[in-house]
Symmetry: C2
């Protein structure tokens, strides 16, 4: 039986193998990904993001256990773009998640960039599809809140949990441009720390002042993940969010946005390859580059000059 | 006087202001960047990369001081993609670098992503040009070794220093695909830690076994940055590297590679915008997207079908 067919039957080893192929070389996995795509679209995908040390791994593992009590099957993906350098963090996560291993209803996988260029977001998206095709009800994705990773997850997940801590106090102001925009549920974890109530109040004020881009009002919750405080409430909020999405065609809109984004993103790669072939080999472009090297022209003006001359045509199928 | 002209006269405040504009909205800075480009190309650009906690900030500050003893002027850029989440690290760096502030020969600047999409590498490259145009002899760029940031720096710097620690022992094996490829100089910092000599020997073995992509043999050095041990040797290696590059047209090759990369990279953006305009609005493409949403078609096959039909034409200037 082919790999994708085994994945669709829920085979753990086949899923692990396919994700390894995705990580090593996404292109090799595409035949299987094509075949299993029809079986996707049924999972509830939840992203966890927050700074290192915010306790999001522990929180994620507690949410997984809560969902297991409801007999839901779980897939977990821990995305760690830095693991080829600082592997320690991921190892720590694995230890914290150890209590979850051995439960047949839970599949856990970590993803690292392995120094490949630009591929982690796409590999993560493909890995989510694998778990989705396996039949997992709930897919929990943990991203380290660094650089672009927390932005990428918004394209992949139905619900985004932003994990914060009371001792991040002075950072709230700086975050408004980034992380506050993407959260559907904000969790102030480690709520037993000093200043928790004040932090919560400030966060509430900032979020209340925000203009909402849609009619979902972000929830703010208090948790102490290590003591399982607030976990049931978090799962309740996640289910409220799921109900919200299932109403009024919002899921269809979400699917369309996700599809368009994925296809546009992959097309960019294809087109970039063509551009490098066609444009960067042109004699005129190489003349301009030479002028830039000699500081007779600046690179910005060179790009403008080339860009004006590039034309993109979408041939009709009957023409080709 | 315009901002770029002030920058070219070495004005600190003008440089700081221009870099702020670059960070906030690179497009607004382009007129000034165009004008100052002719003044660039004279600085020796050195990248420092390594895991958080490796001591690369301290090492960088000691290298800066060593170069200051030689009356060289210094520009420092600390790139921290995570600072909008974990701002603490950068603050720590600033404190460690405090001893360098107040010296007129040193300009220090930190760059953060501020949640903007994909722009940090390009903003860093533009900031390097600003310091270069200011007339700085040496530009030291610190990147957090996370995700793609350490790959990007290889496109911008003449020399890459990879900062390692003896307690990263078990990680060496995992690193071979990534960080070991990009280092021109490897520094085992915190050499007073246990196991330093063994770590050094293992690293030496791995690097010796590597096939070199050019005729520069990577150096491996021992430092204790906090005690200024090994710093003079590091600067000597950096100068050896500079001499190596200046021989046999290697700098010209480096310049050409860098220029081609920069122009191709900027062109991709221009073209991606055009693609989204032309391709994603096409009726045929939207039909395919609908099929993907309905799971009648997978996104990979959709991309292939569209990609086949895209044609890129570079019009001649006399045609336009």
């Amino acid at each position: 039986m082919s790999l994708w067919a085994k994945v669709c039957q829920g085979d753990f080893r086949a899923a692990a193998k396919l994700i390894s192929i995705i990580e090593d070389n996404l292109k090799e996995a595409i035949p299987d990904l094509k075949n299993l795509y029809a079986k996707t679209g049924n999972a509830y995908i939840i992203g966890f993001t927050g700074a290192p040390g915010s306790g999001k791994s522990t929180l994620l593992s507690k949410v997984a256990r809560e969902y297991r009590k409801q007999k839901k099957t779980i897939g977990i993906i821990a995305v760690d773009p830095s693991s080829h350098l600082s592997g320690g963090a991921l190892l720590g996560d694995r230890i914290r998640m150890k209590e979850l291993f051995g439960d047949d209803g839970i599949f856990i996988r970590s993803m690292a960039s392995r120094g490949k260029s630009g591929g982690l977001a796409r590999a993560t998206s493909a890995a989510i599809s694998v778990l989705d095709a396996m039949g997992k009800d709930i897919i929990l994705v943990e991203t380290v809140g660094v650089g672009q990773s927390e932005i990428d997850i918004t394209k992949m997940a139905h619900s985004i949990i932003v994990v914060l801590n009371p001792d991040m106090g002075d950072e709230i102001q700086n975050m408004k441009a980034g992380i506050l925009e993407i959260g559907d549920i904000f969790v102030v974890n480690k709520f037993d720390k000093e200043g928790a109530e004040q932090y919560f109040a400030r966060l509430e004020n900032i979020l209340r002042a925000k203009e909402l881009s849609n009619d979902w009002k972000p929830r703010i919750l208090k948790t102490i993940a290590t003591e399982e405080f607030g976990i049931a409430e978090l799962v309740t909020s996640l289910e409220e969010r799921a109900k919200y999405l299932s109403k009024c065609n919002r899921l269809a809109e979400y699917q369309q946005r996700k599809c368009r984004f994925e296809i546009a993103d992959m097309l960019k790669d294809e087109i970039n390859t063509k551009v490098l072939e066609v444009v960067m080999k042109s004699g005129r472009v190489n003349e301009l580059i030479q002028q830039v090297i000699e500081r007779k022209l600046d690179p910005y003006s060179a790009v403008e000059a080339v860009s004006e001359r590039i034309q993109i045509i979408l041939k009709d199928s009957h023409e080709s």
